[in-house]
């Protein structure tokens, strides 16, 4: 198990120069650090529109009425405060390799810090529970990657439309498309981040093995792993990734793939992951 305290400390330190990048649309809120695309209560003038019965008379532009005898309302841009849902896959496959686990924890910590830097509200969704505000990091520290699979990935919230980030390995035999559709709906942005270890991408095993799925004790398969078997495995993995990417594109989001080391992520891997987030325009420098 990775040294989580050290990991979180490093993540916070590395996240200081960064803030969450403004996406195309943010969730509406009473006030926030980002200007929304809709009409709101900020001081930034946005547009005029004709008065309609029931409109707040305080927003009528009386000066314009004096000139034109037409009643128009002054519209101001809304102010949004980003709500970022970090959905963390805590299935056993995510904990099969220390690199994946530490990368997932680092990504969640880093994104939460970046959200806070953008005056947003990070929400951790793990093990079917929601943790917001001050409960985010304690809950993250308690996460155990030993779940049975997708069932441990929390359902999306039904509240404020958030920016939704799903950190998983997406090693689901099927159902990826439905998951993307569900996560993308009702959110202002959905960013699936896929973590795969080096061994998962290019297995180095050779010989006769009894394969057992880490998430299903009943799923056992005897086979002899040779070059042909590995080639077939890679072909299936490639098809799986392509299918997931097609599904993600269909729902207007891009699937971010990140290859983690088998062992625990070091500083260089963390910096590379940050660079990856910057490159993917998920965070930006303050």
């Amino acid at each position: 198990m990775p040294d989580r305290d050290g990991l979180f400390h490093s993540a916070r330190a590395l996240a200081r120069p960064y803030r969450l990048a403004p996406p195309q649309a943010w969730a509406r809120g009473a006030a926030g650090a980002f200007a929304g695309r809709r009409d709101g209560q900020s001081v930034d003038f946005h547009d005029y529109r004709q008065y309609q019965p029931g409109d707040d008379l305080r927003r009528v532009d009386w000066r314009a009425y004096a000139r034109s005898r037409q009643m128009h309302l002054r519209l101001f841009r809304e102010e949004v405060s980003p709500v970022v849902e970090v959905h963390l896959d805590t299935s056993a496959s995510m904990g099969a390799y220390a690199g994946k686990e530490s990368a997932a924890l680092f990504a969640a910590t880093f994104l939460a810090e970046a959200t806070l830097a953008a005056e947003g509200r990070p929400v951790l969704c793990a093990d079917g529970e929601w943790h917001a505000g001050g409960a985010f990091f304690p809950a993250l520290a308690r996460c155990r990657f030993d779940g049975p699979g997708r069932s441990r990935i929390s359902a999306p919230s039904a509240g404020v439309a958030p920016l939704r980030i799903l950190v998983s390995d997406f090693l689901w035999e099927e159902g990826g498309a439905a998951r993307f559709e569900r996560d993308a709906s009702g959110s202002l942005g959905f960013v699936p981040v896929a973590l795969l270890s080096q061994t998962e991408i290019d297995p180095a095993w050779r010989g006769a093995y009894r394969l057992q799925d880490v998430e299903d004790a009943n799923a056992v398969s005897d086979m002899t792993i040779d070059a042909a078997a590995v080639a077939a495995y890679k072909a299936r993995l490639r098809q799986h990734r392509e299918a997931l990417e097609r599904s993600a594109r269909r729902h207007g989001c891009g699937l971010l793939w990140w290859e983690t080391p088998d062992g625990e992520c070091g500083r260089s891997e963390m910096e590379a992951l940050i660079a990856f987030f910057v490159r993917e325009r998920l965070v930006t420098l303050r």
Partner: protein, 585 residues
């Protein structure tokens, strides 16, 4: 009668192998465990592990069933699984003794058996034919289920054995098909009491009063007491095991068959008849002598033309200082004299015996035309080669008087002409034009050949077969040179095998087509076999195996079981390999 049976029930102890397979699968494949994420990427899971059990539950996979089936097939093979028809076949025992060749003998047996078979086939039955020779044998076709198969089976019925042991054949039939099966015996033997109470079926007597009589001696000679008259000595024998009413007739050829003599005789089984008679009035003609049995049934094989006695044309001229011209004129004169006697085809003039250097004695020997040598024969029965050789009344056709000067030992001679002799230590010569000689059709021929083969057996370890049948197809290779086998007859013409009857071709092959050809040579005048290297490609024994061979009638499924087991193992291995290639564990 059951369908399936085990020839080796003890082999069923191998059933334990099935348990072993199951145990192996219970504890099978102790592979290194490997935790993987996304097992579905490695292919379809082949087995489900029951959680919480120390011992794995039985994996009833495709591989398991294939291995189990293979083990079962091995067990069945070890047990000697065999199959035989549920419906008992109609078992026919055909007397294979040579006596059945008597007129109407084997034909009647064949027809009777064929009609019985036709009746059986009409009921959807099958037949099995056992030949009752000296030792019983299952007919080569073994069993037949259709009319055409039956006809082929009976067409091959050609009795040549020196005896017919019906009891042994019936015992073989009972051993093969059980005691309760009907067995039909076709024979001409009169004494079938040994079969009473043994055969559940019928004994078909296929020959009535007829028989199988053959000449044992034909001798036409000039009466020494009455010049100008000739005498004929004839002896014949009833080879059948039933009494035969025989009539020997002598007729003159070329005179519309004028009857010269008629001699009836009733011969018991194995009995011999003989007569010697003076015949006048047909001195220059050939006499045709035939045996008729019970009416006008003439045995064609025992109908011979007996030529007039050859004159002793050895004349010695004592001349003094014979010039070549005189020699030629003498030769011409003798040639003319010989032509007048009708035997002048080949006059042989030899120069010899220069007595005193002054007188040249010219011996003009009559050239016996290579052709018929009639009995009696001189047979050295003390020699192993001549054991049981009974030349009966057969004429030795086309024997050559031109024999090598060196002859170490003569085994058979006739008319003063050596017919079988030995030169050197192990080189035998047979003075015979095989394609023309009826000897190869005689029962004595396979006996003679068997003796020859046995004689050479010790020096030819690769040769195992010693008993041949005339007419039996003999396969052989043409040797390394792959030259077409060409034999030459007494006129130097090539004899092609295709122009020979199968029987004579077989006789050729007996001599020329075996390794023994190196040991036994046809006299060079009559064949070039000694120049041709021909090797046998098959050394099989014709000695009957009795029950062992008969058991082949029951379909032995052991080989099939073994093949099935190997096939199942191969399929299992191939599928596993294909799975591995696909990564589809």
């Amino acid at each position: 009668m059951t369908n399936l049976f085990f020839a080796a029930p003890a082999g069923l102890a191998a059933l334990a192998a099935l348990g072993a397979v199951i145990v192996l699968y219970l504890y099978r494949r102790r592979r290194k465990p490997l935790a993987v994420t996304g097992l579905f990427l490695w292919g379809r899971p082949r087995q489900q592990k029951a959680g919480g059990r120390k011992r794995e539950r039985l994996i009833r996979s495709r591989s398991f069933w294939l291995d189990l089936a293979a083990a079962l097939a091995f067990v069945l093979a070890a047990g000697g699984l065999s199959w035989r028809s549920e419906q008992a076949p109609l078992v026919m025992v055909l007397d294979d003794s040579f006596a059945m060749r008597a007129r109407d003998g084997h034909e009647a047996a064949r027809q009777a058996a064929a009609s019985l078979f036709a009746e059986t086939v009409g009921r959807g039955g099958r037949i099995a034919v056992i030949l009752a020779g000296e030792r019983p044998a299952v007919a080569r076709a073994m069993t037949a289920a259709t009319r055409s198969e039956g006809e082929n089976l009976f067409a091959a019925y050609d009795p040549v054995s020196r005896g017919g042991n019906l009891s042994a054949a019936v015992a073989l039939a009972r051993g093969l098909y059980g005691d309760g099966n009907d067995i039909h015996v076709f024979t001409n033997q009169t004494d079938t009491t040994s079969l009473h109470g043994v055969v559940a079926g019928a004994v078909h007597r296929v020959v009535g009063a007829g028989g199988n009589a053959a000449f044992t001696q034909l001798w036409r000679y000039a009466d020494p007491e009455h010049p100008g008259r000739e005498r004929l000595a004839v002896s014949w024998r009833n080879y059948a095991d039933i009494p035969a009413e025989t009539v020997v007739t002598v007729a003159a050829e070329g005179e519309e068959g004028r009857l010269l003599h008629r001699e009836p005789a009733s011969l018991p089984p194995g009995g011999t008849g003989s007569f010697e008679v003076e015949i006048a009035g047909a001195a220059d003609a050939a006499w045709r002598i035939e045996i008729a049995t019970s009416g006008n049934d003439v045995i064609a094989e025992d109908s011979f033309a007996v030529l007039p006695p050859q004159p002793k044309a050895v004349v010695t001229y004592a001349v003094d200082g014979l010039s070549p011209a005189a020699e030629r004129s003498v030769a011409l004169a003798l040639d003319a004299a010989g032509a007048k006697r009708g035997v002048a085809a080949d006059l042989l003039v030899t120069h010899s015996d220069r007595d005193d250097g002054q007188t040249l004695v010219i011996r003009v020997a009559e050239a016996v035309r290579p052709g018929v040598v009639t009995p009696p024969y001189t047979v050295d029965y003390a020699a192993q080669l001549c054991r049981d050789v009974d030349l009966s009344g057969v004429a030795w056709v086309a024997a050559s008087p031109d024999v090598p000067e060196r002859i170490d030992e003569v085994y058979i001679a006739g008319g003063g002409v050596p017919l079988l002799w030995r030169t050197g230590r192990e080189r035998f010569f047979l003075n015979m034009a095989i394609e023309a000689s009826p000897v190869v059709n005689d029962p004595a021929w396979p006996v003679l050949w068997t003796n020859l083969a046995k004689h050479c057996l010790e020096r030819l370890p690769g040769l195992r077969r010693t008993l041949y049948r005339p007419g039996e197809p003999i396969r052989f290779n043409h040797g390394p040179e792959r030259q077409a086998l060409q034999l030459r007859d007494d006129r130097g013409d090539a004899v092609a095998f295709s122009s020979l009857t199968p029987r004579k071709a077989g006789a050729y092959a007996l001599l020329a087509g075996t390794e023994i050809a190196g040991q036994i040579a046809v006299a060079p005048l009559y064949g070039g076999a000694s120049d041709t290297t021909i090797l046998c490609d098959k050394t099989e024994t014709l000695r009957l195996k009795g029950r062992a061979e008969g058991e082949a009638l029951a379909l032995d499924l052991r080989a099939w079981c073994l093949a099935a087991a190997l096939l199942l193992l191969f399929v299992n291995w191939r599928l596993a390999r294909a799975d591995a290639e696909r990564g589809d564990a």
